[in-house]
């Protein structure tokens, strides 16, 4: 319970309120406003459900396997698996289907690549800033992954 009954309390609370607002960088607020672009786009969010470096025993596997890191993003309808090697990311859409992969950097730039008929796609070079993948098919599937930092 916060008491702002007397003028000094109210003024102090107002100061806090205005300061809390000023502390937020404008770009942070812009990111939030821009998220609304996804309204009415029927994209499903695919959340990270597996990350090899976060699993126990990851260290021993890393030494042996050519693949450095494996990630899985899961939505209600499909899964996107990623294998990160030294200079590229090999992706697999499950169940296999062709479509378009967009690589969306946070700054708003977008590159595209195709997923072939068995659902495979290649991203090269590896994006050097955090990105999200958006996968779209001709029959209307639309999936957006969580943010990926490699």
């Amino acid at each position: 319970m916060r008491n702002i009954g007397d003028d000094e309390q109210l003024l102090a609370a107002l100061r806090e309120a205005l300061e809390a607002d000023e502390a937020v960088p404008p770009e942070f607020i812009e990111l939030g406003k821009n998220a609304y672009a996804w309204h009415n786009i029927d994209a499903e969010l695919a959340q990270l459900t597996y990350d090899s470096v976060r699993e126990p025993g990851a260290l021993s596997l890393r030494a042996e396997a050519a693949s450095i890191r494996a990630l899985t993003f899961t939505s209600a309808h499909l899964t996107i698996e990623l294998e990160v090697s030294e200079d590229s990311v090999l992706g697999q859409v499950v169940p296999a289907q062709c479509g378009m992969i967009e690589i969306q950097a946070r700054e708003g730039t977008t590159a595209t690549t195709d997923a072939d008929e068995v659902g495979c796609f290649l991203i090269r070079p590896i994006p050097d800033s955090p990105f999200r993948l958006r996968f779209r098919t001709a029959d209307g599937s639309d999936i957006l992954t969580g943010s990926i930092t490699l």
């Binding site: 319970m1 702002i4 109210l10 107002l14 990111l31 939030g32 309204h39 990851a58 969580g146």
Partner: protein, 210 residues
């Protein structure tokens, strides 16, 4: 400003495709998301990432929100969850796979979050109320709040207002602020005099969660 600036009205409008309503939701609650992220001392890119994820999740959930009044609480817990996810991932990298105890992470207890949500709602209501004040009141209060503080002589010359009127005018403006509908809608704040009651705060906090 629209007549109904309640969270419920904003959520309903945002659900129907109203970008300005969405913007107002973001402006109102971005400080809450920001302050929670800062509590975890994350890097700026991580914080941006978390913020974006939280708002994207909200966009996705807009059609499913049954109790818009619970939105600040939802934002707070979602932000905290995303912060912890990032922290866990980061500490795994640093220590090459060693697991992280929750105790090592900053305080994540429910009362802390609850308090932050209550504060954020008060702050948001105060900003809305302040924005609704007459320009003269906003100017006077801004000058009174500035750091370093302005002297009464400076305030008198700038507003302009007679030095002897500053005190009474300040009281009138604060009274207007206190009577604003935005503040009246808050249940966790005592706008009349009297002792703050911790018991009542936890009661209403409990009701909020239910």
């Amino acid at each position: 400003m629209r007549d109904d600036s309640s969270v419920s009205a904003l959520v309903a409008r945002a659900r129907d495709g109203d970008q300005p309503a969405w913007n107002e939701i973001v402006e109102r609650y971005a400080p809450l998301v920001w302050s929670i992220c800062n509590r975890y001392r994350l890097s700026r890119p991580d914080i941006d990432d978390i913020g974006q994820t939280v708002w994207l999740l909200l966009v996705e959930q807009l059609g499913n929100i049954r109790q818009p009044a619970a939105l600040p609480g939802w934002l707070a817990t979602t932000t905290q969850r995303e912060c912890l996810r990032v922290l866990r991932a980061a500490s795994r990298y640093d220590s090459f796979g060693s697991s992280v105890d929750n105790q090592e992470l900053p305080d994540q207890s429910a009362p802390v979050i609850e308090q932050e949500v209550i504060e954020a709602e008060l702050h948001a209501a105060l900003r809305t109320a302040f924005a609704g004040l007459p320009a003269r009141c906003r100017q006077l209060l801004s000058m009174l709040l500035s750091d370093p503080p302005h002297s009464y002589a400076e305030i008198s010359a700038t507003v302009p207002i007679a030095i002897g009127s500053i005190g009474p005018q300040r009281a009138r403006c604060l009274d207007k602020l206190r009577r604003s509908p935005a503040l009246a809608a808050l249940s966790d704040v005592a706008v009349e005099g009297g002792e703050a009651s911790g018991a009542r705060a936890s009661e209403t906090g409990g009701a909020r969660r239910a």
